[in-house]
């Protein structure tokens, strides 16, 4: 299962906040795909995954796939 999260037009920290609120709503093993065009998201979404011990499946072209691992 995957949930899309459209954060285009939002500035950090909003995309990260939305990701943090959405990820607990999916099952462990499922993914959230974040669409975010704020340049800061390119650093902050991977950093969030690292700090919260979640898996960054892919990152690129304003699209980030994050898997809930816990």
């Amino acid at each position: 299962m995957n949930v899309d999260l459209d954060c285009r037009g939002l500035l950090c920290p909003l995309p990260v906040i939305k990701l943090a609120k959405t990820l607990p709503t999916v099952a462990v093993g499922d993914t959230v795909t974040v669409l975010a065009d704020d340049p800061a998201a390119a650093t902050d979404i991977p950093a969030w995954c690292r700090m919260r011990s979640q898996e960054l499946v892919s990152a690129g072209e304003n699209q980030y796939v994050v898997r809930r691992v816990s």
């Binding site: 500035l11 950090c12 920290p13 909003l14 990260v16 906040i17 943090a20 609120k21 704020d38 340049p39 800061a40 390119a42 650093t43 902050d44 991977p46 950093a47 969030w48 700090m51 919260r52």
Partner: protein, 371 residues
């Protein structure tokens, strides 16, 4: 407004009392044209020579190896360009770390080879060595320590790796705060970073390093300070540096211990915070951290309202809405970012009050967005 606590010394420090005193007297005595042969001109020349001698000695060069510029940025731009021009037969490439001051990135332009840094902000020495030893490299640029996160760079090792390629060291964040390692060919610094006046940059070029200056090599001191020199400011910069160096050991020890304390307390008292930069191999007076889910601008504003002046590398605090290229290169959290930097007047009480007030503000801002 409440009592002010200034914790942004790395952006600007109030003028050192010794510099202020010198500036006021030099405005009256050092206003004339130093190239003229009359009494007033010779007086100004003597003062300028004195200032240059002190500044040169402090950064470890001879007076005729020290150029005065109008800022640290101008020193970087002029210096890098002049070294590159002198080595045009070798190539135009400027190798630099990804966390250099923006003046380095702008000057290097398209002929740049950028070398990445690790999570602590330290340049990868193997990659740096590989880049600098390729053909076509005019000059390699590596800062002594980072101005945003405090991490020191391996200057001596980089100089050894560079071999015949001149090493350009932007020491703006370090001079008067920390020891600048040997090995550089060209060094840039800025007086307002040590309590001198704004508008004085240093460009030290060691003998044996060829430069092809783009600035006018007029009759003024053989081009050492092109244009009419600001003698009072140069003197004030020298006075501040001399005074600051005399205080450096004690201040350095104090700042190092207090920054350690802020680092510990921020990490312990605030959940979901990333303290960035090297914990030990760093400048004594700078600490940077980022708080998850916090808007950097909101945090800087909230701290300001409580009387604390800090800076931030978060995108929302910059005119371009892009995060600090330093934080991005390190791959650390860029939002909710705060840089604390201690000055010579900072007290332990102020540091402790900052540590006490910060967690509540972070909690409040998080609560506003439901976190």
């Amino acid at each position: 407004m409440s009592e002010r606590t200034y914790l942004d010394a790395a952006s600007a420090e109030p003028m050192h009392p010794a510099a202020r005193e010198m500036l006021l007297s030099a405005v009256d005595s050092g206003w004339a044209d130093p190239v003229r042969l009359h009494h007033e001109g010779r007086t100004a020349r003597l003062l300028l020579d004195n200032a240059r001698a002190v500044l040169a000695d402090a950064v470890g060069v001879r007076p005729d190896e020290l150029y005065l510029t109008t800022s640290g940025t101008a020193a970087i731009q002029a210096g890098l360009t002049a070294v590159r021009a002198a080595r045009s037969r070798v190539g135009a490439t400027i190798v630099h770390s990804a966390v250099e001051h923006s003046a380095v990135l702008h000057t290097a332009g398209e002929a740049a080879v950028e070398v990445g840094v690790d999570r602590l902000g330290r340049v990868g020495l193997a990659a740096f060595t590989d880049a600098v030893r390729r053909p076509g490299v005019a000059v390699a640029a590596l800062q002594s320590a980072n101005h945003e996160v405090g991490t020191r760079q391996p200057i001596e090792a980089a100089a050894a790796a560079a071999g015949d390629v001149p090493l350009f060291v932007d020491a703006s964040a370090s001079v008067a705060h920390d020891v600048v390692p040997a090995g550089w060919s060209v060094l840039a610094a800025s007086a307002h970073k040590w309590g001198g006046p704004a508008g004085v940059g240093l460009l030290a070029v060691k003998k044996g390093t060829r430069i092809a200056p783009a600035w006018p090599m007029d009759e003024r001191e053989d081009g050492l300070s092109p244009g009419f020199p600001n003698v009072p400011n140069a003197l004030a910069a020298a006075a501040a540096l001399q005074a600051r160096l005399a205080e450096a050991e004690e201040l350095g020890k104090q700042h190092r211990a207090w920054i350690d304390e802020v680092r510990r307390r921020v990490a312990a008292d605030i959940p979901d915070v990333e303290v960035v930069g090297d914990a030990d191999d760093r400048l004594p007076h700078i600490l940077t951290f980022s708080c998850l889910y916090v808007d950097g601008e909101a945090l800087v504003t909230a701290l300001d309202a409580e009387g604390f002046a800090v800076s931030s590398g978060s995108a929302c605090t910059s005119s371009t809405l892009r995060p600090s290229h330093v934080l991005a290169a390190m791959g650390v959290l860029t939002h909710g970012n705060v840089r604390v930097s201690l000055g010579r007047d900072t007290t332990h009480d102020e540091v402790q009050r900052f540590c006490a007030v910060l967690p509540g503000l972070v909690q409040r801002i998080r609560a506003e967005v439901g976190m």
